[in-house]
């Protein structure tokens, strides 16, 4: 399974995951095949056939699956903002220690 912390910060506190633009996605499932971390889940019989099931499994700062998406349907949060947030949380953790 995936890391539960990133740089000492609990993974669930870090917002880093792919977002699927359903107006573009054609359910080719390249991203699912590509990512080894079980972030996506395929739901065969539902209208929305692909969801981001386990966002916290996504490797912080990885954007690799978006490079396999032919229609550019995957987006990620801003890296700078994420870095800032991680630093803030680490500061908060220090003051609580």
């Amino acid at each position: 399974m995936s890391e539960t912390t990133f740089m000492g910060v609990e993974r669930s506190l870090i917002n880093w995951k792919p977002t699927i633009d359903y107006s573009k996605c054609d359910y080719c499932m390249e991203c699912v095949e590509f990512c080894p971390h079980k972030v996506f889940e395929v739901r065969e019989n539902e209208e929305i056939r692909l969801i981001v099931k386990n966002p916290d499994n996504c490797v912080v700062f990885c954007r690799a699956c978006s490079k396999t998406c032919g229609v550019d349907a995957l987006s990620f949060p801003d890296k700078n903002m994420t870095t800032q947030r991680i630093k803030e949380i680490r500061k908060e953790m220090e003051t609580h220690d």
């Binding site: 690799a64 490079k67 032919g70 550019d72 870095t83």
Partner: protein, 285 residues
């Protein structure tokens, strides 16, 4: 100038971006002594194209990010000299592509632009001046998993991020690269897109890309600063990354701007060694 190239384009019957790659390939063939490798025919028969493919430099024109043409080149064991992805180029030129499979004015003008750029770029293939003066001496720790041996530098000057990139820091400079984990995981590396010299990169910013038939890896910079040189050998010989991603396959050098701040989100050998071992075990069991 693109001349005497073998050109492997997307077949161009699925998306508009593909259509442009096909038309661009045709235009390049009309204007100079280039030759197209038809991806559909090539898939079923090697004979016709093997000779050209082995004798000429190869230009791959992918339509979209599915990169069918690149993948085919990988399957056929071809060395890619140059490549472009139309969807990315369109984005870079602020053009939103439609769903049509016929050329309209918009596609035509993008096509002309890309044609000019391709022919222009190649006239000044002279590499930009790089000022590489760093000499890095690595000391390694290794571990084995199955038949693979992984090496990890253990010098105090080497820092890592959890995205499997290293930075060898001397004074206000750092040499950057990827670890053995990345190169083993990607397997045969076929293409390296370097960062631009002079680019200002934030910590965790993108520092070029490495591509294998399996996937594309975006280098996540461990430090922030300005790119002052790239490993030019790697541009022509991306396989150096598989051979040795440290001494030979380093990627770029950066003039550090905020290293003291960056350090907060860097780890040293002890920690990275554990993380990498765990990752390798997760993947290989």
């Amino acid at each position: 100038m693109i001349d005497h190239f073998a050109i492997l384009p997307c077949n161009g019957l699925d998306k508009c971006a593909g259509l442009i790659s096909r038309e661009l390939a045709l235009k390049l063939c009309e204007s100079a002594e280039n030759e197209i490798l038809c991806p559909v025919f090539y898939r079923v028969s090697d004979k016709k194209y093997n000779k050209i493919a082995s004798e000429r430099p190869l230009l791959v024109i992918d339509g979209c990010l599915t990169r069918c043409a690149s993948k085919l080149a990988a399957e056929k064991g071809l060395k890619i000299t140059k490549k472009i992805i139309i969807a990315e180029e369109a984005k870079g030129h602020g053009i939103k592509l439609n769903d049509n499979l016929r050329i309209t004015d918009q596609e035509q003008s993008l096509l002309e632009t890309l044609f000019d750029e391709l022919n222009k770029n190649d006239d000044n293939i002279v590499p930009p001046p790089s000022e590489s003066a760093m000499s890095c001496e690595f000391l390694y720790e290794t571990f084995q998993n199955g038949k693979f041996i992984f090496r990890i530098p253990k010098n105090g000057e080497v820092f890592f991020n959890e995205n499997d990139c290293w930075a060898y820091v001397i004074g206000n400079r750092a040499r950057i690269g990827v670890t053995d984990f990345v190169q083993q995981n990607l397997s045969d590396i076929l293409y390296f897109t370097p960062p631009e010299i002079g680019a200002e990169i934030d910590q965790f910013g993108e520092l070029g890309e490495i591509e294998s038939s399996k996937s594309v890896f975006e280098l996540v910079s461990p430090v922030s600063g300005k790119v002052i040189s790239i490993n030019e050998k790697l541009v022509g010989k991306p396989e150096l990354l598989n051979e040795n991603p440290y001494e030979l396959g380093w990627v770029a050098e950066i003039e550090l701007t905020k290293f003291e701040d960056d350090k907060e989100l860097l780890i040293g050998f002890d920690k990275y060694f554990e993380i990498m071992k765990k990752k390798v075990e997760e993947i290989n069991g």
